[in-house]
């Protein structure tokens, strides 16, 4: 029967598993983002650095190629924890920019258009909503950070041999854990900002503010009070400290990568950094819980 001739009838067919329904939101967000050409170009652009790293690893083990281009193998940088830490720093910086572009537009349109009652009047919980929205960040940022990172690790393990691979598994774990901490923090922060600031450009600006203005403010506290505890509000410092501990990288002058550098004498205890990051994530969840509701409660 032609679709326009049909009348209302109840649906009696099979249903999708409940656990998988949050992925519907992820798929729709992915389809929406695929239409934005700039985003696709940016995502492709972020693959350049992993490619450079892959070529560096490859060249180290290909003496004939090195001879051909006239480079001494000892001139190339060592493939060690510093190499992977630098890789992670660059990619996570790109991840931050991408997140600032997509994150603010994930929740705010639903709030501005009063769409939440429609989502939540279905067998679909607030947690699933947040998970669905956050998954798109998780997927995109994973594609930029730990997935190519682990591929680089596998390439290095393949070329260097089994002994190196088993002896450096902590690097793979550090790549994975370091990326996930950053992704979780970025995702929760951007969703929380998006939920509270309905105007997308302002929300994007606020995200930058949280990272850069707070870092500057932290530095000001340190300078005025002659302390180092101002770094507790400097997210990149906290993440940088955690990464250094994960990669077991010794403290040098300006250890870490890009804007995650930690300087000697300014370290704060690693457990405190973990606690601060955990507290930030909890605060973001609390902010989300206040806004992601079927109805806005005006007391």
């Amino acid at each position: 029967m032609a679709v326009y001739k049909r009348t209302y009838h109840r649906y009696e067919g099979r249903l999708t598993p409940e656990w998988s329904r949050f992925l519907v939101l992820t798929r729709y967000s992915w389809e929406e983002m695929n239409r934005i050409r700039f985003l696709n170009m940016f995502l492709l652009g972020t693959m350049i650095w992993p490619l450079v790293c892959a070529v560096t690893i490859y060249l180290r083990y290909n003496l004939s190629a090195l001879e051909l281009i006239g480079i001494n193998a000892s001139d190339l940088i060592a493939i060690d924890s510093k190499f992977f830490l630098t890789y992670l720093g660059v990619q996570c910086m790109f991840a931050f920019f991408l997140n600032s572009f997509i994150g603010p537009g994930l929740v705010s349109p639903d709030l501005a258009n009063n769409a939440l009652p429609l989502y939540l009047s279905r067998p679909f919980s607030r947690t699933e909503y947040v998970l669905g929205r956050m998954s798109i960040i998780l997927i995109l940022l994973s594609l930029m950070t730990w997935i190519p990172g682990l591929l680089l690790f596998l390439l290095q393990g393949y070329l260097e041999g089994w002994a190196w691979f088993t002896g450096n598994l902590r690097l793979a774990f550090a790549l994975l854990a370091g990326s996930l901490i950053w992704i979780a923090l970025l995702g929760l922060m951007s969703l929380a900002v998006s939920a509270w600031v309905k105007w997308k450009p302002i929300a994007g600006g606020l995200l930058f503010g949280i990272f850069f203005v707070a870092a500057g403010f932290g530095e000001a506290i340190n300078a005025v009070l002659r302390t180092k505890w101002g770094h507790l509000i400097n997210v990149s410092h906290l993440v940088g400290t955690v990464w250094l501990s994960l990669f077991e990288e010794p403290m040098r002058r300006g250890s870490g990568a890009v804007f995650f550098r930690v300087f000697p004498g300014e370290e704060i205890p690693v457990w405190m950094c973990w606690l601060a990051l955990f507290g930030m994530c909890l605060f973001c969840l609390w902010l989300l819980g206040k806004k992601i509701r079927g109805v806005e409660i005006v007391r």
């Binding site: 679709v3 209302y8 649906y11 999708t16 769409a115 009652p117 429609l118 009047s121 279905r122 079927g294």
Partner: protein, 325 residues
């Protein structure tokens, strides 16, 4: 409570809902089983709060409600899988075509992708928006947006449809279309409908049972279908010279009669008694019948009476007030 033989659709059991320090719903008790139920009340009566509570947006402070036997406190997901909700205000997702929006809603309700697409197309044709389904929702008129909200509420085939002010902001032709659709859905008998509205005519046209709220209490509850059926035996007389003897003679005929000492006498006639006998009694008692009206209380009368005084909910489940003279 309507037909006692029907299974209840919604049961309220000492339901108290508190928002902040304000108690919005005050120990509601009742059982609704109509095919189409109207939720009436002035602004601030608690209609939307009741709907939102049934949807699980507000947690009851005490008591509970059950929909098709599922407790809203303990089986929120099961309850919501049986519901289709059309909110009062503009609710949609920006930058999305109508069909994509309705398909998304179907998929979130658990329909697989292909079925969701098919049902979304069906729902759009059903509400009369088949031709515009690929347009962005932002470009729709208010009437189209209302119809789209109805389509998304229907798309997954719910058992109970919650419509919050469905005719809000519609022009007369659009309003007629919406009411016709609701009546059609009701008459197909596959889905129950709960309509929250402050428009008595809409409720009167679409509903067979009414729950009236005032200040968070149930002010009245009545079965309009039974009211309509009993209209045939209801008479309101405008008289001159009516007295105790006239009323007594009518009661002797088997009529239920109510007389407040003025010129109006209200009667419920037994089946065997016709209007002719009433005129005969009036003639014998020397009473002039100046007007004779067959119409019983309209929904407006019921509503106005309910607004005059709140009937406190009895400890047992609330009884409907139909059958009053």
């Amino acid at each position: 409570m309507s037909a006692a033989t029907n299974k209840p659709i919604i049961e309220l059991e000492d339901l108290v809902v508190q928002i902040g320090n304000r108690v919005i719903l005050k120990k509601l008790n009742g059982s609704l089983s109509g095919r189409s139920i109207g939720l009436l009340g002035p602004n601030g009566a608690g209609k939307s709060t009741l709907l939102n509570t049934l949807l699980g947006f507000h947690r009851p402070a005490s008591g509970t409600a059950r929909i098709f036997g599922f407790d809203i406190r303990t089986h929120a997901k099961q309850v919501r899988s049986l519901l289709g909700y059309m909110p009062e205000n503009d609710s949609f997702i920006a930058n999305m075509s109508g069909i994509r929006f309705v398909r998304l809603m179907a998929e979130l309700a658990g329909l697989p992708r292909e079925e969701a697409t098919e049902r979304a197309h069906e729902a759009f044709f059903y509400v009369g928006l088949g031709e515009v389904r690929y347009r962005n929702i932002g470009t729709y008129s208010l009437g189209m947006k209302q119809m789209t909200k109805l389509a998304q509420a229907l798309v997954h085939g719910p058992r109970l449809l919650l419509l919050d002010e469905p005719t809000n902001g519609l022009d007369p032709p659009a309003r007629r279309r919406m009411l016709r659709l609701i009546q059609e859905i009701r008459d197909r008998g596959e889905v129950h409908i709960l309509i929250s509205s402050h428009l008595l005519r809409d409720v009167e046209e679409c509903c067979d049972e009414v729950l009236i709220l005032k200040d968070g209490n149930i002010a009245a509850s009545c079965n309009l279908e039974e009211e309509r059926r009993s209209n045939r035996h209801f008479l309101e007389l405008e008289t001159k010279g009516a007295g105790d003897d006239f009323v007594y003679r009518l009661q002797e005929l088997g009529c239920q009669a109510a007389w407040a000492g003025n010129s109006r006498v209200k009667l419920v006639l037994p089946k065997r008694v016709g209007v002719r006998e009433i005129y005969q009694v009036a003639s014998e008692c020397g009473v002039q019948i100046r007007r004779l009206n067959h119409k019983r209380d309209s929904l407006e009368d019921i509503f106005l009476k309910a607004m005059e005084a709140v009937i406190p909910a009895p400890p047992e489940k609330a009884e409907v007030t139909h059958g009053r003279i």
